[in-house]
Amino acid sequence: MTVLSREMKTSYAFIERNFYLTRRYWGWELAFLVYSVAGALSISLIGAQAGDSRLLLSLMIGAIFWNYLSVVFSWIAETIAVERWEGTLEYTMMAPIRRATQLLGSTAYAIVYGLVHTAVILVVLILFFPQLDLARANPVTAVAFVLLGSFSFVGIGMIAAILPLLYVERGAQMTFVLQSCLLLVSGVYYSISILPPWMQVLSHISPATYVLDGVRRGLIDGVPITNLFGDVWPLLVMGVTLIPLGIWAFGRAERYAKRTGKLKRVG
């Protein structure tokens, strides 16, 4: 068996475990899904009330795709926080696995979970707004941007996962704050041009800004991805750099945690 296939097989441990957790916490999962659907509907209804189909579609896209990106980010970032709370972190760290394998498994589950979650919201919104005109939409552009953006969010999620590794309780809080900041600066429900100039600087380092812009232009204006290079190249650069950076940074954080004794269960 090659090293690669063995690592892929081992990474399935995290996919299966996270599936078991989702299944056991099905009540919370359902509640979270209902909340997400209600939130997306509420925001979209602002566009419907304005009688502006372009605004409606723009808000819908923001709600749906932000949901996807934030779910992927949360699952990866919280994979360590959950182990902290349960006290199993030391056992996972003791296992003969590469950290990249662990992060790969968590990432794969996060993406699948995010896609399923988002698909449900998408279906509900389409049923709720049958008047939507998607004749000009270019779904290939939308799918391509979601895939490209996933790489960047996986990388950011890996970096964010360091926080609960090093800080037992505050780590999860800091992850939550980071996610909130991304929501604020990425133009999820409005154009980033209305943000103060200093905040617009932050917008340009958030991958969500490019994902949402690309998806909107693809679905609302039907622009093919070949005409959106200005949104594509930042995502390519971020995807290529953030994942290796995330794995490297996580390894450094693990060594620091082992040196200072921060892996130990508390409470």
Binding site: R6, R17, Y20, L21, Y91, M93, R259, T260, K264
Partner: protein, 286 residues
């Protein structure tokens, strides 16, 4: 230090199989936020275990027992010294070492909403075991520990503390570790559960050829199970001998009753129930 062991014994003779565990002058310090000088949690500790041995580590709370176990597991890095497991260096051959060891700690840490089988399945996959064979092996081990197949599919949070600890032991055994580190595995268990676990530990050596490091506060348990015992005090190994040797030592040299309790009190300067500043908790995790 009074001991039947010297650091020179850490060197394997040519042609002989490697020792199960070699800890060579291990030292670990922690920086405490409100203290300028680091706290020495493990201070120049050396030990050598042969294959199939059950080695007990005694010491009061905060003496460094759990820190030493964490160092051997690779959950903490050494400031100085060396750990070798079956000839593999812990730092240079980390993955090889991890495949050979497993640990049971005093707190049975699990995903509490998941069932014993789901928790064990996760552990098995991490160690590269097939799900099907892992389930068969898990059920066999759980059955031996008195946990039925029906019970193995219900959330672990519904189990008693003793049952959870048995599942923790099953999790460690599932990976067939050559070196098993048991960190107070029977603390908090009722007498029957404690006896079950102790009997099982004896079986592990005879049936599974496992080498075992056992930390415990239960001197009768140490006397029953251990081939050799060392006592840690303030991170230093102060004595090492067989249980019988330790009793003789304290009687002959210190004019105390020939019991492990007398040995413990003599070499730590306190009774089993005394607490003092916990050096292994000195690190501030948050």
């Amino acid at each position: 230090m009074t001991t039947a062991f010297s650091p020179q014994q850490n060197q394997a003779k040519p042609g002989t199989p490697p020792a199960a565990l070699v800890v060579d002058h291990a030292t670990k310090r922690f920086v405490v936020a409100d203290k300028r000088r680091p706290v020495v949690a493990i201070d120049d500790v050396s030990m050598r275990l042969e294959r199939g041995e059950i080695y007990g580590i005694l010491g009061s709370n905060g003496s460094g027992k759990s820190t030493l176990i964490r160092l051997i597991c690779g959950l903490l890095t050494l400031d100085s010294g060396r750990v070798e497991i079956f000839g593999h260096d812990l730092v240079r051959e980390e993955l090889a070492v991890k495949r050979l060891i497993n640990r049971v700690s005093v707190d049975a840490a699990f995903f509490k909403k998941l069932s014993p089988f789901e928790n064990l399945s996760f552990a098995a996959r991490l160690y590269g075991l097939e799900a099907g064979s892992a389930r068969v092996a898990a059920l066999k081990i759980l059955g031996r520990l008195g946990i039925s197949e029906r019970r193995a599919d219900r959330p672990i949070e519904q189990m008693s503390r003793g049952m959870q600890q048995k599942v923790a032991i099953a999790r460690a055994l599932l990976t067939s570790p050559s070196l098993l580190l048991l960190d107070e595995p029977t603390t908090g268990l009722d007498p029957r559960s404690k006896l079950d676990v102790q009997t099982f530990i004896e079986e592990l050596r005879t049936d599974h050829d496992a080498t075992i490091v056992l930390t415990t506060h239960d001197l009768a348990e140490a006397d029953r199970l251990c081939d050799r015992i060392s006592i840690l005090n303030d991170g230093r190994k102060v004595v090492e001998a067989t249980p019988t040797g330790l009793k003789l030592l304290v009687a002959e040299r210190h004019d105390q009753p020939a019991t492990l309790e007398a040995a413990f009190m003599t070499y730590t300067g306190r009774s089993l129930d005394d607490d003092h500043e916990p050096t292994e908790d000195a690190n501030e995790p948050d």
